[in-house]
Amino acid sequence: MISLANPTRFLSLVERLVPWLAGATLILLGIGLYLAFFVAPPDYQQGETVRIMFVHVPAAWLAMFGYALIALSALGTLIWRHPLADVAAKAAAPIGATFTFIALVTGSLWGKPMWGTYWVWDARLTSMLVLFLLYLGLIALWQAIEEPGRAGRAAAILALVGAVNLPIIKFSVDWWNTLHQPASVLRTGGPTIDPSLLTPLFVMAIAFALLFVLLHLIAMRAEILRRRVRALQQTQVAHAALAEA
């Protein structure tokens, strides 16, 4: 982690990793999709729609992983002042938000055939919606503050405040749900997932994780370059001002 603090060294690492990651991602996605559609048996309760689980659950996992990554990076920014920590956080936010969005939409599409409605305010979907809002807030804050240093620290504070609040929000939504939900429990996927369904699930999860890392590294590189461009443009303006003076 410390040796990667040097942006230039980090960039050369990214350069080397990207092709391998891209290849591995594509291969695993291919295997995962094949398993999801041709190998996994239909669920005896849900029939074929259980296949949506193979995209919904990994997306949800990565949505949460993304936020955990941002929260950890936030600690890196605020406590250890690691130079790439806020770059990591900023790059991760849109990716995490996209996975959250996918989790929400696929969850909704799974819900319609299963429960007859596109949206239910059950604890899991509601918490995922709140997570999406937290992501949007982070992205909005990044956009609103021009100076990268201040933006990084402000977003780090917000990320940590959100991280501390997430368990509380989850708890309150759970509680709220038991208040309003009659005894019938809506289980997505049954009490235990059959082993024949686990393999496609894990393969898709790993594929999504590799995709996350791949896109994250590229986005981090773009952000590092963006800051260099910004610095150089400011030098350019300064030189021009001097030349005119």
Binding site: G137, A154, I157, N165
Partner: protein, 222 residues
Amino acid sequence: MKAALALLRRDIMLAWREGGAIGVALGFYLVVVAIMPLGLGPDLNLLSRIAPGVLWVALLLAALLAADRIFHNDYEDGALDVLMTGPLPLPLVAATKSLAHWLTTGVPLALLAPVLGLLLNLPLAASPWLVLAMLAGTPAVSFIAAIGASLTLGLRRSGLLLALLVLPLYVPVLIFGVATVSAAVTGPASPWPPFLMLCALSLASIVLAPFAAALALRTALR
């Protein structure tokens, strides 16, 4: 301590003299609650069922309206820089200003709520619990709003951005606040469990939020 009290008194006086700020928040509260039935229909049964929710949501929005006032005026005229280098630790400054916001916005809104509840057919007998719940929950609202205010200090469209950032954090307050009032209105469940959760949320916010706000202030003013 004396310095903190002086700061508190100053902030309250400023808010009072501005007059408009408190009045606008109360007026906004009234307007939002008043147009709800226009949007939902005059069925009194429906209204009384959703009254706790409407009253709480409208309160959150009204409190947020006044939130960027917490630091903004002092930021604009440089007083915040003075406060930062002054004798008071910055978290205490943030806490004092949050407290001022609660006293000048949260408390008046909470006291107005039963009157607005009448518009929504909320039984008058529920008023004590309504006011109690709101008095217990609005400290959390003010102290968390201060975090949003300090993060968005000096930014364009800071009001909307603040609301976007802070509203998800209000979910627990909203849930337990509404549950308290609903339990008081419809029974048989006791309003005490959600009420105590509300108190816990406020106490935790009072203790923790000022540190986050202070950190954000330092970030904004560096």
